[in-house]
Amino acid sequence: MALTSPEKRIWWNEPLSKIELTWIVIAFLWGLTMFGTMVYWHFTGEQNLSNEAYRIRPEVFAERTEAQAEKYKVREEGDTGIPVVKPPAGSDVYMLARRYEFWPILELEKDKQYRLHLSSMDVQHGFSLQPTNINLQIHPGYEMVLTVKPNKTGEYSVVCNEYCGVAHHAMVGRIYVVDSKK
């Protein structure tokens, strides 16, 4: 039994029961299927993470984000006057994460593509876009670039879901998705 040495010295020649063999084959094929599903989704699925990323100094990223905000600011919001920025459809948009905010607020058009650039100014943060539920990890010193295409209008929150310090739970940002007609 399991607590004593195998009864047969040459245990590796014991015959395999059919049931075990069948299960091993099924489990193995299931692994292959899951592998295939991931690959298949790269060709046909619409939700794949880009692998585009660059090393970047936080100051440089901040400069780019500020330049964009200055150029395309449409209004301010919140008690602290966070700029709402509406870059043209199809363009590059920047959002930075720092203790304890995602800056600035973005306004995007529905069904238009944007190249979204994300990076952190200090520690790691989590970019959790709700309610659609997309979750990314944001590192300092790395710029992640992904193409997004908002598929529903509305008000979205960006919640920080990587612990980043005492006010981590107050770290939220916002993205508006509006109809392209107006």
Binding site: L3, E20, N48, V166
Partner: protein, 566 residues
């Protein structure tokens, strides 16, 4: 033998027990239980804070408690207990002496000092960085130093385990191949070497960085190596609790593995493939390529998953076969109905098996998919998943074997048997509840490690669905149930050790804990021509498989609804 070593003979199993093995197992197990008690209490505080209607701790204390909870239960409770299991699987099962007991004790002391040091650092409040301590967030230097000392101590223990096995072989204290349980422990120990080295490679520079001796640690590199430690250690847990499943089934029911070859092969898959799977912690990080992620999560992870699926058939299969030989042969499930459900060692083991497979295994593989991880990463789904693996799976299995370790090693009767009988059900149900409700809340996007889902301090409002509040409340209710189950365990174990009646030879005869023939195998196939009837096990694994496939594709459906991104 060079010296006279003190041995006693176990009246129930006939095994020769080295006094040093006895003492080391006792010390490590007792300290483990103490850390479970402390860490579990922090877990309750955390869960009560995340229950929106209760919201118990303030933010700073919450993050402190969460850091302490993760470190005390995941690292200290689990690893102290595993060291006890290693000594059991080597010295005791092989009738052997512990080599270099002094070094083993040194390891124990290092682990204890390290664990205390890390706890002090966390309680001082300057190290609320979570047990993952992702850089560039910085903890106090003695937080890292504590973890390093703990790791060095654990490495010594692993070394003693290898030494003990080699000496046993040399001194011919056993014949033939290693018993399966020792083999499983050996796989755990081999993975532990890799794990602890990864930990050292990343924690030593981080410690130096915390002293300002190194200017910078790259956050992505840190994560890659840290999870080489953090994830592989989960594989140690799995290898250990699977060994315990086999051991419990053997001790209580005389179950013998269906095939030594298959069970050992499944353990080997763990060694060969799980290390690489630390990749599934980096699925949504910048700058990690898809082909690397797919290779590491599927080629590597799925072959390790294959190992677990194999055990998922062979463990219940061995039990079914043994029970049928004992005469519980009616229908599909008489063997299971007539199992010793009133014995906490058995009920813990079987609940651990079922909950680990159905809740922990399925959720883990699903969220470990490259794309599906996008909708799960860092949501509270993640703690939901690992409370199914490491609490309902590993912790419950460890609790179960304690009900055998106390009579066999501490040689004390279990006291408060009536309470003990209910303990696994309370704890198992509580753990299953917190797992499920955290997974549920995570599926709708609730963040992990988060103090306030009302966002009352935030400059912008966030719309959180009402169901999330309900699920976090239910999580709190089940957390209380799990805590009661955990507290009963601690009380019963401590009280039995202190006040339980001593088990002398007569007591062992009158009231054996090891069933039937001193643990002789009641069944022996694989070696036999006749194939055992395993219809109940087939029903169980079919159910597991169907649940798995359905749940897996439901999550692809969820994924397909989020914003297109590329």
């Amino acid at each position: 033998m060079a010296k006279d070593f003190k041995f006693r003979t176990c009246p129930e199993t006939g095994l020769k027990v080295h006094s040093q093995a006895d003492a080391l197992i006792k010390a490590n197990a007792v300290v483990a239980v103490v850390f479970l008690a402390i860490g579990g209490l922090f877990g309750l505080l955390v869960a009560l804070t995340r229950w929106p209607a209760v919201h118990m701790l303030d933010a700073e204390l919450f993050y402190l408690a969460l850091t302490a909870h993760g470190a005390d239960v995941l690292v200290f409770w689990i690893i102290f207990f595993e060291v006890a299991v290693l000594y059991f699987a080597s010295a005791i099962l092989l009738n052997a002496r512990i080599v270099l007991p002094k070094i083993a004790w040194l390891g124990f002391i290092l682990m204890l000092v390290g664990a205390l040091m890390a706890n002090v650092a966390v309680l001082q409040g300057e190290s609320s960085v979570m047990f993952t301590s992702y850089v560039p967030m910085k903890a106090a230097p003695h937080f890292y130093l504590g973890l390093i000392l703990f790791a060095v101590g654990a490495l010594l223990a692993v070394g003693i385990f290898f030494g003990t096995i080699l000496t046993a072989k040399k001194e011919k204290t056993y014949e033939g191949s290693l018993p399966l349980v020792t083999f499983g422990a050996l796989t755990a120990a081999i993975i532990a070497v890799y794990t602890i080295l990864s930990g050292a490679i990343i924690l030593v520079p981080t410690f130096l960085w915390s002293l300002d001796l190194i200017p910078h640690i790259d956050s992505l590199t840190y994560k890659l190596i840290w999870w080489g430690f953090g994830h592989s250690s989960q594989q140690i847990n799995v290898a250990t609790h699977v060994s315990i499943w086999y051991a419990t089934a053997a001790l209580l029911l005389g179950a013998k593995p269906l095939s030594e070859k298959v069970s050992r092969g499944a353990f080997l898959l763990y060694i060969l493939f799980l290390q690489l799977a630390s990749a599934h912690h980096l699925l949504v990080e910048p700058g990690v390529s898809s082909s690397w992620k797919i290779f590491n999560t599927s080629y590597a992870l799925y072959l390790a998953v294959l190992g677990s699926l194999i055990h998922g058939l062979s463990v219940p299969g061995a039990i079914e076969a043994a029970q049928r030989k004992r005469g519980f042969n009616k229908g599909v499930f008489e063997w299971l109905r007539k199992a010793p459900w009133g014995n906490p060692a058995f009920s813990s083991m079987f609940l651990s098996l079922v909950l680990f497979g159905f809740l922990g295994g399925i959720s883990g593989v699903t969220m470990g998919n490259e794309q599906i991880n996008l909708i799960i990463h860092n949501t509270i789904y993640v703690p939901g998943h690992f409370h199914a693996t490491v609490v309902a799976g590993t912790t419950l299995a460890f609790m179960g074997i304690t009900y055998l370790v106390v009579p066999l090693i501490f040689q004390r009767e279990i006291v408060m048997k009536g309470l003990a009988r209910w303990q696994p059900y309370l704890f198992g149900l509580g753990a299953a509840g917190i797992s499920l409700f955290m997974m549920g809340a995570g599926t709708i996007g609730i963040a992990r490690r988060h103090w306030d889902i009302t966002f009352s301090d935030a400059p912008l409002t966030v719309d959180v669905p009402g169901t999330a509040f309900m699920m976090m409340g239910l999580n709190g209710v089940f957390a209380i149930m799990a805590t009661i189950g955990g507290a009963i365990y601690v009380v019963v174990v401590v009280a039995s050790i202190l006040f339980g009646a001593k088990r002398d030879e007569a007591a062992c005869k009158a009231n054996p804990v090891v069933t039937a023939g001193g643990g002789e195998a009641v069944a022996s196939y694989g070696a036999e021509e006749e194939h055992p009837n395993l219809s109940g096990t087939i029903v169980l694994v079919t159910l597991l498989f169907v649940t798995f496939v359905l749940y897996y594709y439901v999550n692809w459906k969820f994924l397909s609804e989020v914003w297109p991104l590329s």
